[in-house]
């Protein structure tokens, strides 16, 4: 299996700890990841808010590159990129006219051969069987697994996990000794698309999420999406304004939690980069 790695812009910028922790966990488990050469931005929310063609064309270039570079699958840790790449692949396969236009715009065709996997799928398929022997100490904490919207929806396109009350992340957390809680905001949107332009709304939506996790006794929120992470971690001032009582609940990437269980250093996992300090071991 030749797995390509598409970090996307966030993992090279604001969320570089996600990048670091994905690579660190993969390396620790002996899994090889090769970054797609010369990749470009997927366009994210902005592109599909402004132009359908552009929103398909940007991911199409990435997919065409991956295909040319001989990858069977591409790991896309960023949930937003994962969503955009998956939707674009779906649109290209479904709409011949669009595929032709996009192919011409990009200057490369994509034939649909590359499988797009998110970090949870990747971990389940490649890492889960390797974990038992490698865990140094259990990540024995009550955690709220937060999937957000982009990993599970649109379900017909992504076909990943259960639409309401997904379980894959909960399963991974149990595997490293954590106790995932049953809570109500697993797949509710945190408002990432408006993070900069309507911080007020993002504060409110993210406050609902953190408030519920805290109220139900979670010690940390675990995420698999850099948008969710930067909202829940960096927008804490705005969030706390919307909560009756401010919260300092930390927000971890799933790979950071696994990394801790594998005994990797906090620095290797980029934990020092968080705005809200992570004290959990």
């Amino acid at each position: 299996m030749n797995t390509g790695f598409y970090p996307g812009c966030s993992l090279n910028g604001t969320s570089r700890e996600y990048n670091e922790s994905v690579r660190a966990v993969a390396a620790e488990l002996g899994l090889k990841l090769t970054e797609i050469d010369d990749w470009n931005c997927c366009g994210a929310t902005a592109a599909h808010s402004m132009s359908r063609e552009l929103s398909v064309a940007l991911p199409a270039r990435v997919l065409a590159l991956a295909e040319r570079q001989g990858f069977d699958e591409v790991l896309v840790p960023c949930a937003s990129c994962y969503n955009r790449l998956s939707v674009a692949a779906h649109e290209l396969a479904r709409d011949e006219e669009l595929a032709a236009k996009v192919g011409a715009a990009v200057g490369m065709a994509y034939s649909g051969k590359v499988r797009i996997v998110n970090v949870l799928q990747y971990l389940q398929e490649h890492a889960a069987q390797l974990l038992p022997g490698k865990i140094r100490h259990n990540f024995a904490h009550r955690v709220a697994c937060y999937y957000g919207c982009l990993l599970v929806r649109p379900h017909k396109v992504l076909g990943f996990d259960r639409l309401e009350d997904p379980q894959s992340m909960d399963g991974m957390m149990r595997a490293i000794g954590a106790e995932p809680i049953d809570w109500a905001f697993k797949t509710e949107c945190c408002g990432a698309g408006l993070s900069v332009s309507r911080t007020d709304l993002v504060g409110k939506l993210s406050a609902n999420i953190l408030g519920d996790a805290r109220d139900r006794g979670a010690e940390a929120v675990v995420v698999a999406c850099p948008m969710c992470h930067s909202n829940l971690d960096m927008r804490r001032t705005a969030i706390n304004k919307c909560l009756d009582e401010p919260t300092d609940i930390p927000v971890l990437y799933i790979t950071q939690a696994i990394g801790l269980a594998l005994g990797l250093s906090r620095k290797a996992l980029g934990l020092q980069r968080h705005i809200v300090e992570v004290k959990l071991q």
Binding site: N40, A46, L58, P154, M234
Partner: protein, 184 residues
């Protein structure tokens, strides 16, 4: 001529969504995290599209709701008729922008998207400092987020210089020229 065409017809032709299938159960609104903050809640927006009047169409294109929609897809996931509301929102945004109907209050959102795409156009990837700088210039919200930027810088979350593709983004620039910036 083209612009006089009713939105419902455009939606059917352009993206294949039939607004008459909506029977106004409101489940989209009930599950929408931003419905309370929208000037037109999703199901109400569907109703306006169904009426097919010029006034209703203008109200939809000039709404803030279409710009607030986060594309979280909760609505379509639960819609009993599986009406692709996020796709409708995407298309309405495109029509609103190209038709010059963007609501005053939604300008910062559009500005952000534009700034974001400009970064991508010129570099092939996003570049947060450049993005925020451009966004601030567009919106004149100069003081926004000045509190967290230094922290982010210190934590190594911001790149000082933009990452670029091998050819300085020419390939990606071409994609823009052939899609969103296409003149026809």
């Amino acid at each position: 001529m083209e612009d006089k065409k009713r939105l419902s017809i455009k939606l059917a032709e352009d993206i294949g969504v039939d607004v008459s299938r909506c029977y106004q159960c409101g489940k989209c609104t009930a599950g929408c995290v931003l419905a309370p903050d929208m000037d037109i809640a999703p199901s109400f927006l569907m109703r306006l599209l169904q009426t097919g009047t010029e006034k209703a169409d203008a109200r939809v294109l000039g709404s803030t709701a279409i710009w607030l929609c986060l594309s979280c897809e909760n609505c379509v996931a639960r819609c009993p008729m599986e009406i692709d509301l996020p796709a409708i929102m995407d298309h309405l945004r495109e029509l609103s922008r190209t038709g010059g109907r963007v609501n005053e209050k939604a300008r910062p959102i559009v500005a952000f998207h534009k700034s974001f795409l400009d970064m991508v156009k010129h570099n092939g990837r996003t570049y947060e400092i450049g993005l925020v700088a451009e966004y601030k210039m567009r919106t004149m919200r100069l003081m926004q987020d000045v509190d967290i930027a230094p922290t982010m810088m210190a934590k190594g979350k911001l790149n000082i210089v933009p990452e670029r593709l091998k050819d300085n983004g020419d390939k990606v620039g071409r994609i823009f020229a052939n899609t969103i910036d296409k003149k026809d």
